[in-house]
Amino acid sequence: MAPGKTELVDMFGKMVMIREFDQLAVELRKKRRIHGALHPYVGEEAVAVGACSALRTTDRITSTHRGHGHCIAKGADINRMMAELFGRVDGYCKGKGGSMHIADFAVGMLGANGIVAGGMPIACGAALAAQLEDAGGVAACFFGDGATGEGEFHETLNIASLWKLPLIFICENNRYGAGNAVESVRVVADISMHAPAYGMPGVTVDGNDVLAVRDATREAVERARRGAGPTLLHCQTFRWLFHAMRDEPQPDTRPAELLAAWRSRDRDPVMRFEDYLTGHAIVTAAEVQAIRDRVNRDLAAAVDFAEASPYPDPKDLLVDMFAE
């Protein structure tokens, strides 16, 4: 079923928000207004938004160290995300997690994760819960190309397939694991080739085409909801910016021509979708501008919200350690 205008506009708005949120986060970090490590998702927006548009709020996902996009796509509140980056008490984790550990269990976002592939078994557990609940829920895990080198990737694919769990594996192949090109750490370039070894469909998708990601995810979700088990989606995309930054971005050693090619308007996932929406007369240029203006206003408000929020009180250091 083709999405209607409302849904398309929502998807576009989320893609713009992810782009602007992370570009703003980089600037805030460079100015030392926020703290810690930052892994921008810029350039990969179509994967998170396309995939999450095929999920319900009650479906559960796990994310990666590059997790802001997954949060926004799943419906997290940018005010609380920003407050977390600022280390404030109104952040999602009350300032205890920071960029790499944002979670919003209320919208089924079970957390970003500092360990490559670390979220995959957790998503598998959420899928087991969905299967036992038998209410049509599914789970999805986002992971990068680097995760395919981890044992947790292979173990999780096998168990999910063995138990026919309602789980969608969404590989964001951005071609580099930190600074290492995929072909320098893997023999087989096509990550979907792992799927047949574990007895599940493997689908390679243009990860910069939000509607293609949406369609592939919908098919995988439909399969999962009817009890036929997991699917491995291999979404080909590209990370526009550096792998990570602390006080300064890490040096980017990738070829300049490769960066330029992926940043071209016809490959940029946000501009591609904008051109699609305007080209099909689904939205006007004025509506696009209104969306962009709203995103920027919302982000300015999020920064204000975060800065108005107090730092956590050190006397609360031990709060949240153990549940009652």
Binding site: R60, T62, G91, Y92, C93, K94, G95, K96, G97, H101, A103, D104, F105, A106, L110, G111, N113, G114, I115, G118, M120, P121, I122, A123, C124, G125, A126, A127, L128, A129, A130, L132, E133, A139, G151, E152, E155, T156, N158, I159, L162, W163, V319, D320, M321, F322, A323, E324
Partner: protein
């Protein structure tokens, strides 16, 4: 009261808790026919030998409303799942600001004395104690095993439940029905006045046996079983030491950064308890080696009654602590 084995007590706890709460599920590499027959293979799953995956599956299912009991088999195998234990389970609640609870129990056997050699004779509970975020349980009797496993399953946090291999076949009185033992409460297994002996798991039995022998000499041992290592019932141990003035801690883990070290720190950091000490405290622990296979070597590596007795005599004979 009826007497059943430690292993049977644990099985009863599993059965009763799975009857009591539909959300309790079981994951293990070995099949559990008794549980499978009663609860079916949806709730009782045997897994591939994929410790990292099923450790994380337990955590994810716990964060999604279930109460998984994940059995690693031997603690040895937990080391294959260290990412999920160290980076995920022990930190997930706190680092997400307490948004969700993760009621998952990880069971495993532990300890030496059965000629299973270096890898399968380990007692690494202090590694888990160190992680801040896991509750750690180590019972010594069938009744405590049953009552504490029930409490662990009902607890809303990740709990690591150690089952001493040398205790599996021993029997003891276990009350019928739904009797829990609270987490974080030590048990005075024998009241005495001369020396406090804090012993863990198998060595509770050794200490109690020794207490009988030494009683004939007029030496009165108070034997305390912490039962839970996190949270540790420090006050129960301190209160005993304030009365006896002497402390020996017995465990089969090597002494470095051990539960025994922690117990001694908790006792000696407390000013009133420190002032009550009549002599330096002592640890009786395993030698700092991988547990060897050959019986005479293994016996030499692990604590025994002779070494425990020697430590008790030392604390009775040592010069007083000058305060």
């Amino acid at each position: 009261m009826r007497e059943i084995t430690f292993a049977r007590a644990l099985e009863e706890a599993m059965t009763e808790e799975m009857r009591r709460d539909q959300r309790v599920i079981a994951l293990a590499t070995t099949r559990a026919p008794v549980l499978e027959n009663e609860f079916g293979t949806q709730r009782v799953r045997h897994t591939p030998i994929s410790e990292a995956a099923f450790t994380g599956i337990g955590l994810g299912a716990a964060g999604s409303g279930f109460r998984p009991v994940v059995n690693w088999g031997m603690v040895t195998f937990s080391f294959v799942a260290m990412d999920q234990i160290v980076n995920q389970a022990s930190k997930i609640r706190y680092m997400f600001g307490g948004q969700a609870d993760f009621p998952v129990t990880y069971r495993c056997t532990t300890g030496g004395g059965a000629q299973t050699a270096a890898q399968h004779s380990q007692s690494p509970y202090s590694m888990f104690m160190h992680l801040a975020g896991l509750k750690v349980i180590l019972p010594s009797t069938p009744a405590d095993a049953k009552g504490l496993l029930k409490s662990a399953i009902r607890d809303n946090n990740p709990v690591v439940f150690f089952e001493c291999s040398r205790l599996a076949a021993i029997t003891g009185p276990v009350p019928e029905g739904d009797v829990t033992v609270p987490i974080g409460v030590a048990d005075v297994k024998r009241v005495g006045s001369d020396v406090t002996v804090v012993a863990l798991a198998y060595y509770v039995r050794e200490a109690l046996a020794l207490a009988e022998v030494l009683a004939a000499e007029g030496i009165s041992l108070e034997v305390i079983d912490p039962r839970t290592l996190v949270p540790m019932d420090a006050e129960a141990i301190r209160a005993s030491v304030r009365r006896t003035g002497r402390l020996v801690v017995v465990d089969e883990a090597p002494a470095t950064c051990s539960a025994a070290s922690e117990i001694i720190a908790l006792v000696t950091e407390d000013p009133d308890t420190f002032r009550a000490l009549k002599s330096p405290v002592r640890r009786v622990c395993a030698a700092p080696v991988p547990v060897p296979f050959s019986p005479p070597l293994e016996q030499a590596a692990l604590p025994d009654q002779a070494r425990i007795t020697a430590a008790i005599r030392r604390v009775l004979e040592d010069a007083p602590v000058a305060v």
